[in-house]
Amino acid sequence: MPFGINETMGQYSELFMLLAAGTYTVAFIAFAWDLAKSSKALRAVDLKAAQAGTAARVPVGAGVATGSAGGRLSGPADRAERPSSSTAKAGGAGTDGIVTAGGDMKYAAERRVPARVAVALTTLAVLIHAAGVVTRALGAGRVPWGNMYEFLTTGAFLVAAVFLLSLVRRDLRFLGTFVVGLVIIMMVAASVAFWTPVGHLVPALQSYWLVIHVSIAVLSSALFTLTFAMSALQLVQSHRQKTVAAGGTDKLGFMRLVPSALSLENLSYRINAIAFIGWTFTLMFGAIWAEKAWGRFWGWDTKEVWTFVIWVVYAGYLHARATRGWTGTRAAWLSIVGYFCVIFNFTIVNTLFNGLHSYSGL
């Protein structure tokens, strides 16, 4: 028998969710402020550098070179541009004369106060959000992903948490507005369109597979959300790089904070690879659960169809990365199309299509 329902806990949860959404909104503003301010500051630095000429850079480079030359067997000059090398070397203050953030996405020395404020606020929001998710679980006496409201709120929590975790190792703060913006949209959609009070699970969902299958689905979706943000930025950055390379003016100054299109592509590929494995597990565990619940592991139910479509699109993305002429922009588009399928699968398929997965709780 399931645990009892605790309505008070459910109400606390909603309060926490509301508070978290509010905090996210302030964090969003801080991230946007950071983009605006930092890009202005960067432009000012560039201007100064242009006036001072490039003289300042030469001695530094020469010093390093002489220091290291003693044991060098031969001097590779073009190593930084080799494509098959690590992402750490792609991008940076590139040779095409356009300014992007460092391709290694490591933290630079300079202090970005608004960005720090934004990250602190996001951390606070994630903590409140965690309290909301936990109280929801306690209120319902089960895992907090039994209907669309819970899937969205828990999913949004994971998106924000994964983003914060990745910030520990990489400076991905340029993604902040995008990610936090998406989290806010998810929270609002959950509260407005999919709100459901705490309740028991229908018998069809009472299975340990709910814990396994859906948790992996939420996590993979959260990762796809991050790569969606990166792929979208990649398209913008690629457009900007092309424009500038062709002699156009750089109208998208805030994109200076964002790494080069190639670095974005490489990082989103790595995250997509993890998410694709996660989605493969989602598909497989879903099939195993379907066998347990409905007697067949695959039956082309609408949800199964779309889960399959998403899997195939991201499989196409992984293949595209190894196909000449399909890397870069086209691969980014595939990643974006894949994410739209994820959204479609969650919203339209759950609510408008008839199928065996109609447990939205609406």
Binding site: E7, S68, S86, G199, T280, F297, H319, A322
Partner: protein, 585 residues
């Protein structure tokens, strides 16, 4: 496949023009076939087919599908007279068995086989051969570094190369030392063969999954049965209400086990406000026998918890109420006695009831109406069910007499009564009115046609019985596929070359280069790790080694004016032989 690279290069305009003007030799049928095969197995085609498969799967979610629910398809065609038939001719109601969908995935799998087989052969050869020869200029590799062993350390270049080989072997590389006693000993090393193995396993396993699914369709079967409390199902063809055999099904496959429904319990939500009265637990107590002579065994059948019996799995898929009635005919004899399965129609088990009494004399009798577990009547005289449990059970019926049409042999839906040839006896608009019965009560039909008694209520369950022999192998192949996928994405195939030499002043110079096959963002990390291991092997002081900057990666030394090291290096980096090996990428 993840690292097939198309070697075709972009052609400049004049080249393309010249090509267009050149008279191409005729390919001939053999050449055409080879060309078609090359096209089909190319990466671009595979990618195109993959994306096409995604698009082709979508219509199956937009239109009702026959395998899932044939009745809905029939209704859909009726509701859309303008294009319903057209969609049918395009096989849009059978998307996943349609000619076009099958064509796409079959082509995709042929393309896949055409790719996997040559790659497997190539990889088998690669795994048995030695690492490629040492490139002449290691500095051209994406990761490159140098180390200097001081002359006092007494490590000649041949010892150094063997030391490097030890380090690399320990790290899982396959190593070949070349020219160990020559002036410029070198080694080639390679690791990460499991990447391609994983890749091949992944793609081969997908074929395995497809074959397993096909096998399940050929030799499997499934069926449905409704069981009222007390009923027994025996696994024979007549035991099923509906039976769907696979293409190669033989009735002898059915093991004659039996399953009796003893009791069915439902727990309803009495806690939450929004979902009050929703079922939260279904549990059927059943008695099973593996075969007619086996000892009986009591088991619990639940949603998400099927019962396995005689090679099949039995699933709880539906339930409802079955009012028990006794009907006497005009002659006063019992014409029918037992439970009647009521079909769910609306909320709170609001169900429809159809009773056909072909044995009634002198006239056959028919009843149509509703069963309500907790009957309530609104001000507007509309009755509804206020709760799913039996708080106020009620049968509301109209009755008919005449010929039910069952004697002609034409199959009829048990849940529908065709009243066309029947004469109404009871209805709201008739003088006699409708029949309303509570448990234990009896109603006498007008005109001496007989009577109906509502004796009580039982529950029934709907079970699905499935046998799929391809299931286990599909799971095994799926698991293999995931294992292969993980290997192919996270094992890195790397090559390392090391060359040593003795400088004029007696120092031993070491240079090394790394090359990744395929995407490898950790190559720089590997280079740093190797550098540390090499330094430890030759007991070089940590980080005091000149040439550090070369491996740090952060200093591209674009402006490096100095070639101070070149004269030292000169003796090392020049002669790698006249047949100097080229980089292989």
């Amino acid at each position: 496949m993840s690292e097939r690279v198309n070697v075709k290069k972009k052609q400049s305009a004049p080249v393309a023009e010249a090509k267009a003007q050149a008279a191409l030799p005729a390919l001939g049928p053999k050449g055409m076939l080879r060309w078609a095969w090359t096209q089909l197995t190319s990466m671009r085609t595979a990618l195109f087919l993959l994306l096409l498969l995604a698009v082709a799967a979508v219509p199956g979610s937009l239109f009702p599908q026959r395998p899932a629910n044939p009745a809905v398809v029939t209704q859909y065609i009726k509701d859309h007279p303008d294009y319903g038939k057209l969609l049918d001719s395009l096989q849009l109601y059978d998307v996943y068995s349609s000619a076009w969908f099958s064509a796409i995935y079959l082509l995709l799998f042929i393309s896949l086989i055409g790719c996997v087989v040559p790659r497997a052969i190539a990889h088998y050869k690669a795994m048995r051969s030695q690492p490629p020869r040492t490139p002449q200029r290691l500095s051209r590799l994406p990761e490159y570094g140098t180390l200097v062993i001081p002359s006092g350390a007494a490590i000649p270049s041949s010892d150094a190369i063997n030391g490097a080989a030890r380090v690399l072997r320990k790290r899982g590389y396959r190593v070949e030392v070349r020219d160990a006693d020559g002036a410029l000993p070198s080694l080639g090393a390679e690791r990460g063969f499991m990447k391609e193995v994983g890749n091949l396993v992944f793609h081969t396993s997908l074929i395995g999954v497809l074959v397993s699914v096909a096998a399940g369709g050929l030799f499997g079967y499934s069926g449905q049965r409704i069981l009222v409390e007390g009923d027994t199902f025996v696994n024979t063809l007549v035991g099923y209400d509906q039976f769907n055999p696979g293409t190669n099904f033989q009735p002898s496959q059915l093991q004659p086990y039996s399953l009796q429904l003893d009791k069915f319990n439902i727990t309803f939500d009495r806690e939450s406000k929004g979902k009050f009265g929703q079922p939260i637990d279904f549990a059927a107590t059943v008695t099973t026998k593996e075969n007619p002579d086996a000892p009986p065994k009591q088991e619990t059948l639940k949603v998400n918890d099927p019962v396995s019996l005689g090679g099949t799995s039995i699933y709880l898929t539906g339930n409802g109420y079955a009012p028990v009635v006794t009907i006497r005919d005009g002659a006063g004899n019992v014409a029918m006695q037992g439970p009647v399965v009521a079909k769910l129609q609306g909320e709170n088990y609001y169900s429809s009831v159809v009773i056909k009494v072909p044995d009634a004399q002198p006239d056959q009798l028919g009843f149509v109406g509703f069963f309500l577990p907790t009957a309530f009547v609104t001000d507007k005289n509309v009755s509804f069910s206020a709760d799913p449990e039996l708080f106020n059970p009620q049968l509301t019926l109209n009755s008919y007499y005449g010929d039910l049409g069952l004697n002609k042999g034409a199959p009829q839906n048990v849940f529908e009564l065709d009243v066309k040839n029947l004469t109404p006896l009871n209805a709201r608009n008739l003088a006699a009115g409708g029949i309303t019965l509570a448990p234990g009560s009896t109603y006498t039909l007008p005109d001496g046609k007989g009577s109906i008694s509502f004796d009580g209520v039982k529950r029934y369950i709907g079970v699905d019985i499935h046998h799929n022999p391809g299931q286990l192998s599909a799971l095994v192949f799926a698991l293999l596929a995931v294992a292969g996928l993980i290997l192919s994405l996270y094992v890195n195939r790397r090559r390392v070359w090391v060359r040593t030499g003795t400088a004029a002043d007696g120092r031993t110079m070491v240079e090394y280069g790394l090359l990744a096959r395929g995407e490898d963002h950790r190559l720089a990390g590997e280079a740093a790790a190797l550098r540390k291991l090499f330094a430890a092997e030759w007991q070089l002081p940590d980080e005091a080694v000149p040439g550090d900057a070369a491996s740090a990666g952060a200093a591209p030394s674009q402006q490096s004016p100095s070639r101070a090291g070149d004269n030292v290096a000169g003796s090392v980096s020049t002669p790698a032989g006249p047949t100097g090996p080229k980089k292989d990428q």
